[in-house]
Symmetry: C2
């Protein structure tokens, strides 16, 4: 395995950063890397907001319940799934922009955005920086959008903290390959049999350095997803102009 | 800039593969890399279908209009945004799974899936393999799901071709950073002023090695997105159990 892959396999989110800033060259590398991933039909349907204002950082820290690292990271970028730029292009060409409202276009934008962010994440880790995705900006997504003055056809999908790690967590186990990879069809019996992984996670939770607990993956997931998460997300998408159904 | 970032910046999709297979070690590296990215709350909401059956490859080639490379790539993986595994976990714990039907859960799954795929894409390119995303499996997404026997709460998001390049395309320009990165708020005037990029793309289209044309980015985008793409996607999502509105 080459160095790049070894670094990918060693990934663990970093939630504790030093005060050190990134160099201008590092920042430029990260931004260029984020743009270099695949993009559906060249639409490049994302934008990045570089949040430098301390009051904005604090507000995003509160929304996400991730204050210490959202405020303390050298960089906090918000990745925006962005079809607004496309709507201005369509209008400038005298075309109707209503096709941008459908679920397919929204999905294209979300996938483009996630690909861009993961390029930036891996570029960061290739320079031994630490990263943490902040999906918690969707805890109050309307507020997140308002803070950044986001227009129609945009979705603040997640934040990304980047910085020099002050401390690092251990790597968290992943599902066995047999639970995530199937040949030619979705083999329900194998892909959903997580008994082995539950045992592995039970041992992991009992023995890790901090936040030890008696639980397993199924229990954690059942406690987390047994209700509708962020139910206001749908109304937000509609308010942004998306025609969901 | 380190080697990893230089390779990211050199990315261009590959659509022409040699007949060579990947080694078992390469395949294992790719799959492990795909699992090692960030995942929202550890949900790991994706599955990967390794499409090895030639008839299935042919069917996906037809659906996507990408036959030569979908059939010819050493690997063709379909990445599935997958909340079905989660529904089995919830049911096993005696919990209600209806919260999985909302747009937030679907978004979590799509982002997890794209992060996993981009890890695999970059792991491939770190080994000098070529990749191409195949969003075109959504041209007939109900058929794509049927071919793979996908259950409720799953979405075949895209395919990923991987193999040894027989030929490589040149890198396609990306928007200037000023069009994609803004500080503290969404600056509409700057983020949507694509005049300079249109000039760059006009020169690129006129001078590239193959498929030369007199066009620019705005024109290409306007011609592509002036109508609702894949309008059956919404009905498919509903049929899979998602409550969109």
């Amino acid at each position: 395995m080459n160095d790049s892959i070894q670094k990918m396999l060693a990934h663990a989110s970093v939630r504790d950063f030093s005060d050190e800033k990134l160099s201008e060259e590092q920042v430029e590398s990260l931004l260029l890397a984020s743009q270099s991933g695949s993009t559906s039909h060249h639409v490049q349907a994302f934008s990045i907001i570089d949040v430098t204002d301390p009051e904005l950082r604090q507000a995003f820290g509160e929304i996400s319940h991730c204050g210490p690292y959202v405020e303390g990271a050298a960089k906090f970028y918000v990745f925006v799934a962005d079809l607004y730029r496309m709507s201005t292009v369509l209008k400038a060409k005298g075309k109707d922009d209503s096709g941008l409202a459908n679920n397919e276009a929204l999905t294209v934008a979300m996938v483009d955005t996630a690909i861009a962010a993961q390029n930036m994440a891996l570029a960061s880790e290739s320079m031994d920086l630490g990263i943490c995705y902040i999906g918690g900006i969707r805890n109050d997504i309307a507020k997140s959008a308002e803070l950044l003055k986001l227009p129609k056809y945009t979705v603040p999908l997640f934040g990304l903290c980047i910085g020099i790690p002050a401390s690092r967590n251990g790597k968290k186990p992943r599902l066995p390959l047999t639970n995530q990879v199937s040949e030619n069809s979705y083999d329900q019996a194998i892909l959903t049999n997580v008994t082995g992984f539950d045992e592995e996670m039970r041992a992991y939770y009992a023995s890790r350095g901090s936040n030890q607990k008696a639980s397993d993956w199924s229990q954690q997931m059942a406690d987390y997803m047994d209700h509708e998460l962020r139910p206001d997300f749908t109304d937000f998408l509609k308010a942004q102009g998306f025609k969901l159904a």
